[in-house]
């Protein structure tokens, strides 16, 4: 179809699309429509590029592009494989959705410093694609750091005391984790193995034979907690704190870019640096599985206690992210597939939930769940989407989350970890417990005075509603037609 050289260029274009948009957005700050045009153009270009690669990757190819040789033995290298492709597809697609929604949100609230906002948004998407397409650990680290820094102004957007505290916590955890743990671990790894390239398959890893067990374990722990974006307790504390950001940012942080990058990096390192064999041999997988199980249950319980919708969603995110790592840590093919497909399922579901939270805020200025009683009657589309996404989180068929749960349960059975099965079931119950009431109250609760007496409250603007509904529908579609994404995920495990 295309000459091979196209496949060398496409990942670079996908990476740079948003980077090129940065100066354009910055320059056209005075003309909002033009500025938004650049965002959409870049997003569309990026998605098109990623999409154009799918066929080639599905055919079993792996693309590697060397960008710059920064160190004598390591280069900044892009590598497109099925694993990265899943993530790239999701994030580049959701950028379009998020961009649409953001325009509506920012204009709806007449936020300040919108240009800076869009610039940082574009930068963080560039970093996200960079992580998805990175060919070795150093490249991944580079984009990981870029993401941390470029999302800082987004988190601190409101520039008030809360925004500042949240952003400070955000950067402290992320930089602390990456500089304090990932960097030394990476260097020790480099000293051991002489390179940082990801292995060709998920079994072997690159750690040479004969490395001391203790050292491998230390490295594993450093990577597991060092990628603090993955929200494993106790490195999760930044996530609720970062809640203060505008909702599109929360959606980006908690559904697509940031946390998924954390999880993606963790999974990448587990599978392609350590390899299933090593993790199995040293029981690292089981250990990690129990660590994240604790996170799953604890975060869900905390979510129950939160009345602020976004805070509840944040703890839900912490819990759900650990599903992904749990799947990978169980080390059986089904579990790994379940974990990876959850990257997709959770992304769509959670972005829907956050979009809904934002839409509710724009329409009614309400943040707390207890105030939303009866709001569903006024905003049926929003809450309908919310209900669907909740189902995905809970894992009820036919929504995408079901697929995840299924594979995870099968994987846990394969691995013979009964305790993990119990954790999954308990978590499902907890999910029902904290998502159920929101939808129930919104539709069937008694509207309180502020809603019934205020005729101004109606659905959010169309430009916000479209992404919400689209994301919710895709969430359902992912449950009905899971095989599209599963193709990629299966390729990872074979």
């Amino acid at each position: 179809m295309f000459p091979v050289s196209f496949y060398q260029i496409a990942p670079v274009i996908a990476l740079c699309a948003s980077l090129l948009a940065v100066p354009l957005i910055a320059v056209s700050g005075r003309h909002p429509n033009l500025r938004e045009f650049w965002t959409f153009a870049a997003a569309a270009l990026k998605f098109a590029m990623v999409l154009s690669l799918t066929g080639w990757i599905l055919a079993g190819n792996v693309i590697t592009v060397d960008l710059i040789n920064v160190l004598p033995d390591i280069s900044i290298q892009l590598r497109v494989d099925s694993f990265g492709m899943v993530f790239a597809l999701v994030s580049s697609f959701l950028w379009i959705a998020a961009a649409l929604y953001t325009v509506g949100y920012m204009r709806g609230l007449a936020e300040h410093a919108q240009t800076r906002f869009f610039v940082c948004f574009a930068l963080s998407l560039c970093a996200t694609i960079g992580v998805a397409f990175s060919g070795n650990l150093l490249t991944m680290y580079l984009f990981y750091e870029m993401l941390s820094l470029s999302t800082y102004p987004l988190v601190a957007h409101h520039q008030d005391r809360e925004g500042r505290g949240g952003a400070r916590k955000y950067l402290t955890f992320l930089l602390g984790g990456s500089v304090g743990m990932v960097l030394p671990a990476m260097i020790i790894l480099f000293s051991l193995s002489g390179n940082l390239d990801f292995a060709d398959n998920i079994y072997g890893g690159i750690i040479p034979q004969g490395t001391g067990n203790l050292l491998v374990t230390i490295l594993f722990v450093a990577f597991l907690f060092g990628f603090a974006k993955n929200g494993i307790m106790p490195m999760h504390a930044w996530l609720p704190g970062a809640m203060v950001a505008p909702t599109p940012v929360s959606a980006l942080l908690h559904a697509v870019a940031v946390v998924k990058v954390g999880v993606f990096c963790t999974a990448r390192v587990m599978l392609y640096i350590f390899g299933i064999d090593v993790m199995d041999e040293l029981n690292l997988g089981v250990a990690a599985a129990y660590i994240v199980s604790f996170t799953i249950v604890t975060a869900s319980i905390i979510a129950l206690t939160k009345d602020n919708l976004k805070a509840r969603l944040a703890y839900s995110t912490i819990s759900q992210l650990s599903y992904i790592i749990l799947g990978v840590a169980l080390l059986t093919p089904s579990a790994v597939q379940g974990g990876l497909i959850h990257i997709v399922n959770h992304a769509f579901a959670k972005i829907t939930l956050f979009f809904c939270a934002g839409a509710i805020y724009v329409a009614s200025r309400k943040k707390n769940i207890s105030e939303m009683s009866g709001l569903g009657r006024v905003m049926p589309f929003t809450f309908g989407a919310f209900a669907l996404a909740s189902l995905s989180m809970i894992g009820a068929p036919p929504v995408g989350g079901f697929i995840t749960k299924w594979y995870l349960l099968v994987g846990a059975l394969d691995a013979g970890q009964t305790a993990i099965i119990l954790v999954l079931l308990a978590s499902t119950m907890l999910n029902v417990a904290y998502f159920g009431p929101v939808t129930y109250k919104a539709f069937f609760g008694k509207p309180n005075d502020s809603i019934s007496e205020n005729p101004k409250i109606k659905e959010a603007p169309l430009i916000m509603l479209v992404p919400i509904v689209a994301a919710a529908i895709i969430s359902v579609l992912l449950g009905i037609f899971p095989h599209i994404m599963m193709q990629f995920v299966r390729m990872v495990t074979t």
Binding site: V70, P72, R164, L171, G176, L183, I187
Partner: protein, 506 residues
Amino acid sequence: MMDQTPVFIIAIPLFASLLLTLIGPLGPRVAYGLLIGALSLSLGASLATMVRVVQTGQAIHYYMGDWLPPMGIELVIDHLSAAVLVMIGVCALLSGIYSMHTAGQDNHDRLNNYYALFSLLVTGLLGMASAGDVFNLYVLLEISALASYGLLARGGGKAYFATFKYLVMGTIGACFYLLGVGYIYIMTGSLNMADLADILSRESLQESVSIRIGFTLIILGIWTKMALFPLHAWLPNAYSRAGTATACLIAPLMTKVSVYIMLRMMFTVFSADYIFNQIAWSSLVIYMASAAVVLGMITAFAQRDMRKMLTYIIVAEIGYMTGGAWLANTAGYTGAVYHILADGLMTLSLFMAVGAIIYRTGDTSANAMQGIFRRMPITAAVFLIGAASIVGIPPTCGFFSKWYLLQGAVQAGAWIFVAALLIAGLMAAIIFFRLLEAAFFGNLDDEGLSVGHSAPHSGTGAVQMREAPLTMLVPLAVAGAALLGLGIYTNEVVTYLIRWSVPAGF
């Protein structure tokens, strides 16, 4: 012509400084022009020499007065010195251009003499980096030291006392160095570095107490000059009280060139084998370096004055380089050398950025940073890049030097140094984050939040953008870009320059 380039590097700024004292009546513009012209030509000669070194792959020897060493004096420009020469040239030229507006602040009169010293300092540094003779190195060390005393004292007021302390310490350092050279001369009868290396490698001298004490004295002298941790007390006050133009020249260069001398002495005159097997202090020095790194950063954290903070960061950075050099492996050495180049640029860009902010706000405390992102976006961006480089965030060059240093420390099993580097990185992150947060939010203390909050909402008219003058802004931007460029071209720098100079025995 091409084979004369090594001498042009040094002679051009020397002539410029001599001429500058004579052209006072022609006015400051001419003096400035002469200085910039000389520094550019010198940089050009450095670049030409570097290209030659890289192309031929071997060191260039330039025999002064056509006398063959060891009887005569030679300039030796190998890969290491070529890299350092270019670094000095670039930093000197940028800070020279930058000085147009700031030099006049503490030199209402006699600007030409100020520039003469400026040029003389650069001459001394360039001469040190290209010297192939230990005594010649001492003479140039004295030149740069004298010039730096004069320049630093121009800060006036408290700068006099700080400089006096520096003068005393600097003189002690230089005396130690000279005494050490004296002992070594008595034992070997030679002053030429290559010749010395040859003689010192003889079996009989390996055990000699005098040689050992000579080496000790030399190293102690150099450590004093480069402000390694317990001997660093003179540096922060001397550098932070100097005028902006002076600080931008001296802070990036003086200590870095001293580190270069340390490397020269350790690996060219003495050998890696002698240092690490005969003397065997390395574990002690690693502890000192680690202490320097951590304590330097902690003290920097405690500062409210921005320039003082930066000077303590220099103390910490010296610890990086010393530690790297004494790790006794290729990665550590590469890290140390690369960090000489990287830290020169980092310090330069940070000092220039802070200088520009001080120039506009007149405030040296951290309060001056408030709202800089809105008022001086380019300055703030360079400051951000410099900060990222000190913290060690890719793709700035600071990341790569830290990479090599950590790699070397891991390979050498120097876990204390690994820990120190990591702690320092995190501390630096906190230090700069505090400033950048203020720069971003536009306020520093929590009480003033309401004011700061209203400003961004009230539209663009509230804060007016006022960057520093173009002569300050351009070098600033170039330095910032160079930080990224050096980072991206790390591979080239390491492969074409640093790899060649890795001492035998690693």
